[in-house]
Symmetry: C2
Subunit: 417 residues, 2 copies
């Protein structure tokens, strides 16, 4: 089964927005075992949309069109699909009523144009859109091939692809009734080392018919994802295969795994702290507040996070945090800062980061040198120093996740004693 992706919108060609939808769709298709040979973006021009569809269908079984379903005269996906199928557009009264209803609920007048969104090429089906006005389309061509159309608004697109397009593609491919996958999120190793350590699992799965499969996804400074995907006759069957493989992989990967699916490094850290009833305080220098900013990404951080002191200037480190170390980029400074985070912010656990973000060295310390301090109740304060690569921005992002990962590993080890 092969499905190509066609994004519609002149704004994509002009670079006014970056097409993140196609990458997301590509990932979903791959996870479902559906191949994709081409992603294409073209402008709001009916002739060119029809030409692109014909061209893609000359080589492929399905095309997923993204965008061009809005209410304006520029939105031509519906018309193009009708032209491709050589059928008229038919207004669906139930869809028109739903759209009118949605405007009434928001107490807004409905421009007549919006009713265009209730038009469906004859013989096609509408895909419901519970969170927006534009329904999607699912239209089978006479030769059994299929074109899907979904809105360009990412959260509307994602819901339709997940709930309707992927299940329909799976039904058509006839391969499996259900697909289940899990993403094990790892941090602190390279892609080649990770691949090497699980190579024998890949071989074992291949030998038993390639179900489940394992894929590695690079996530930049957020680490590497190991994704396990299984097909099954039922969801329960697929899930059981995934869970079995997850156990095998966790034995190999150990504490490289910081979370699963939507979990983040910061949510993992807060969860471990919460488990012990501990609060967290931060003292940061080169990161300027980024560590705190990242922690408050987590909903409900307020029960655990006390705050951060972004002590950028040297004499703020001295006056506010009581740092006495001669160099403020040193092991001693990091230790004093972590303990000050406990004391000044009234936190159980204190962490710190001080380093040289560049562009030039500081106090004779080279760019990229970073010291992390970790003060945990009942343990001596620990300092880890490292030399990180990259420019200013990357260095700070890297420092932030490195320190959070260190804290996670320490808390995790404590739990396993």
């Amino acid at each position: 089964m092969r499905c190509e992706v066609l994004a519609i919108g002149t704004e994509l060609l002009l670079g006014q927005i970056v097409d993140t939808n196609s990458a997301w769709i590509g990932e979903q298709l791959a996870a479902s075992g559906v191949d994709s040979y081409e992603h294409r973006a073209i402008g709001d021009n009916q002739t060119r949309i029809v030409d692109a569809l014909r061209d893609l269908f000359s080589r492929s079984d399905a095309v997923l069109v993204c965008g061009g379903l809005g209410p304006t005269q520029d939105d031509l996906t519906r018309d193009a699909i009708a032209e491709l199928m050589n059928v008229p557009l038919v207004r669906h009264d139930d869809l028109a009523e739903q759209i009118a209803q949605m405007f009434r609920a928001r107490v807004r007048d409905m421009p007549q144009n919006n009713l265009r969104q209730a038009d469906v090429p004859e013989g096609g089906q509408a895909i419901p859109n519970p969170i927006g006005t534009a329904p999607g389309l699912l239209c089978e061509l006479p030769d059994g091939k299929v074109v899907y159309a979904v809105p360009g608004v990412p959260y509307e697109m994602k819901q339709m692809v997940t709930d309707h397009v992927i299940p329909d593609l799976l039904r058509r491919s006839g391969e499996a009734a259900a697909i289940v996958s899990i993403s094990l999120k790892t941090w602190g190793t390279s892609e080649s080392a990770l691949a090497e350590s699980v190579a024998h699992r890949l071989d074992a799965l291949d030998a038993q018919g390639g179900n489940p499969t394992i894929a590695f996804l690079a996530r930049g400074i957020e680490g590497l994802v190991v994704r396990v995907t299984a097909k099954g006759a039922t969801e329960a069957e697929a899930r059981a295969l995934v869970e079995l493989e997850e156990k095998e992989l966790r034995l190999i990967l150990g504490d490289l795994v910081f979370g699963v699916d939507d979990e983040t490094m910061e949510s993992a850290v807060l969860e471990l702290l919460r488990g012990r009833g501990w609060t967290l305080g931060v003292a940061e220098s080169l990161t300027g507040g980024l560590i705190g900013a990242r922690i408050v990404n987590v909903e409900g951080a307020s029960d655990t996070f006390r705050g951060t002191i972004g002590s950028y200037a040297t004499d703020v480190k001295r006056s506010l945090l009581g740092v006495t170390a001669e160099s403020v980029v040193s092991e001693q400074a990091a230790r004093e800062m972590a303990e000050a985070a406990q004391r000044v912010l009234g936190a159980d656990v204190g962490i710190s980061a001080t380093g040289v973000a560049g562009p030039t060295e500081q106090d004779g310390v080279a760019v990229g040198t970073v010291f992390f301090g970790i003060a945990i109740p009942g343990l001596p304060t620990e300092v880890v120093s490292t030399r990180l690569p990259g420019d200013r921005e990357r260095l700070r992002q890297f420092s932030t996740i490195s320190l959070l990962n260190l804290l996670r590993q320490r808390l995790d080890a404590l739990g396993r004693r």
Copy 2:
């Protein structure tokens, strides 16, 4: 003149990376008056690359291929272009020597594979790559059409497109010898309001032949860019046209404009502070450190930025900042926090943000309510309250840039008295 964009890489189709290059290239082409009807991404497969090139050249004058120039067997752009041209690849000794030199400079052994990067289709030219090992390609086809190839690494790609591809396209289009553009960055108004306020300039430029042109680019929470682009026989001629129009637009836009080209909101704020020899301190709550993190994005922030206190917990606001207001999300709390930022961090200017990021209300204050405090020497401390839209993350990002923009406007007004 028309130039299509062809991105190469199976990882793009699998959604492992988002293609930001094509959008950037699309923007550069549009700014240079070169049309683009299609962006396409395909995998690392020579036959499919050649087929795509043939298809694109059936409709277009030029194709810019991005990616597939690396040293591995997966990198097939060179081979595909040679196949398209029906010529062999020829090894260029000078390129081979440059590549070997680059490895020697880094004291690393060069895998023999890397010499593949010195291969150029017969009759084609190499585009120099001063910052990486992969040269680009510029190959004219027998019918006068042209194919460019640039690496997928964004900063290498950008330098080659700016320095070689765009100038070559302009020469071929014969329209103008030089293109100059300027981006006026604005914050605090809607696209429709902006378009309305400069509508008469658009009309005037149209009436005089459409040179320079004006385009609006949405940049999300970073505001809206008004880009002026002029063509001229010489760069000086084009620049003069841009500068004339910039003056007209600045009269209309006033202090909505916070910067030009690569300037950011935070660099604008630091520049204004530096002009007065003032330092800055921040006290922030809902943003958790994000305001500080954003300010230290600016190289050389350390001469002006004292630090931030991310006082997330209520009693940290009381103990560390001396907040006495009954509700910590109130006008009084914002005022006390801004003044504490001056006092505790030893800063001339203090700013603060306190608000409810959600998901639920706090102290009876609705989600999205934010108070900003601004304490400037010689002026009474000012508090601005607002109600911002969006989810947790968006709210914090929006709060950060809103507060920086307020400070910028106040400092700017001070300068103009």
